[in-house]
Symmetry: C2
Subunit: 296 residues, 2 copies
Amino acid sequence: MSVGITKARELGVSTVGCASTGNTSASLAAYAARAGLRCIVLLPAGKVALGKLSQAMFHGADVFSVRGNFDEALEAVTALALDGELYLLNSVNPFRLEGQKSIGYEIVDDLGWKSPDRIILPVGNAGNISAIWKGIKEFYDAGFIKEVPRMTGIQAEGAAPIVRAVEKGVDYIEPVENPETIATAIRIGAPVSAKKALRAIYESEGLAETVTDDQILSAQKLLARREGIGVEPASAASIAGLIKLLDAGEIDKSEHVVCVVTGHLLKDPNTAINACKEPIEVDADINALSKILKQD
Amino acid sequence: MSVGITKARELGVSTVGCASTGNTSASLAAYAARAGLRCIVLLPAGKVALGKLSQAMFHGADVFSVRGNFDEALEAVTALALDGELYLLNSVNPFRLEGQKSIGYEIVDDLGWKSPDRIILPVGNAGNISAIWKGIKEFYDAGFIKEVPRMTGIQAEGAAPIVRAVEKGVDYIEPVENPETIATAIRIGAPVSAKKALRAIYESEGLAETVTDDQILSAQKLLARREGIGVEPASAASIAGLIKLLDAGEIDKSEHVVCVVTGHLLKDPNTAINACKEPIEVDADINALSKILKQD
């Protein structure tokens, strides 16, 4: 987002904006505040996780709750941008991808200047998979790495236009009218970077796979309880996808796999709490506590 | 927390625990999950911010909601520890401070191996101010820095036993019976590291000051809207304290000051949302949106 905001300042615009399932708006609102720019965000009404909403609002964005889904919000904000009302900073803006591609650089850097065999990531609006592939290809072309990873995109069962396109082997998507999943960050029916994402998957001989909400939630819990890593549901989709593809034999156990999980658990605290049993209320009394602990 | 957990594993304990206003339990739950240890946390009922609660629960801790305040919860968990039920990982455990002191190292490192003139930080259970001072002194004794910062602790008006002690010039606190503040992370009446914190303030010729909840919330908003940095109320206390001490002429504008703000906005999303006006609900319609934007 910092690259996009830098561009906005270069252009001398006073207002930036985006449609968002939450994460883009949280990021844009914070960067816009720092840059002293007005920020307008359009969110699908009632479908944005609490944490993200609090970030956009608290960093002072003008938040509009749009009666419709993300795709309709994106259409509306695009129209506003074309009307000159704001500078659009969704990932349809190429400067966004220039920043996002550095995730690809970072992966290679963290692995000691080697490419993993595969990168698995959740796919919503499809900016990340497109951008990471761009970064990887640049490093490959520059001779920094000798191999490239298979780009593997995971979508929620109820919002999987890219997986459907890969199943058919085509390079275009049929938008999903009413996308639905608990993973709000990838609840998108008409990904704006669909063509680029499909190219990334095909060029890298990657895969695309769906996961159910149950698989997402169970991967989210596994990651939190076994690894101590707390992520929001959308991010857990990459782990759920890894498990499914391993079970199906599509991924080999010997592969060196990187899963991208960029959304923190705190982005969606309510989903986390709803997945747990309520705390036991007790008196601050050692005997009572001792007894309960021994029962377990 | 990683140092504390490492110690717990060395000792071969199976269960770790803490009392917490939220942040310690969130951290302990995640580390304990990674280490494969059972984790028991005691939280004051109804007084823990949503994000932190979601972390403790989702990382699989056994969460007990104690009818009482933090100080009573700490007393209860200490009794459990003395009974051998768990290994206590509040900052009364010296291995916790060994980890926390590295914040002092980091500050010096980040400033190019120089000490700032002053470090300002929120003071709740008083582990951080004690630990950071320990780290700073170690660097001073080793000759890495030639000066030391004035350690400046900020407490909420309704939970300020350390500030009261400094006002009287004594090295002990009188516990606050019913501590109260919106900054839940420092809502503590009987800080366990009070003596060490007072020593840090006196030795460094520092200060202690109170701030009101209104000052905290306004500093929180300022930081989010001017700097793009989202913190929870307790962390904003350090900024509120800086503003108050500058206004009072206690801190000079020429001083090089570091404020510690370690708690993210997402730790307490509800307080953030309550401080903002509600999003405007609109149709995904360019004309309607355009009209509203022009009105502003």
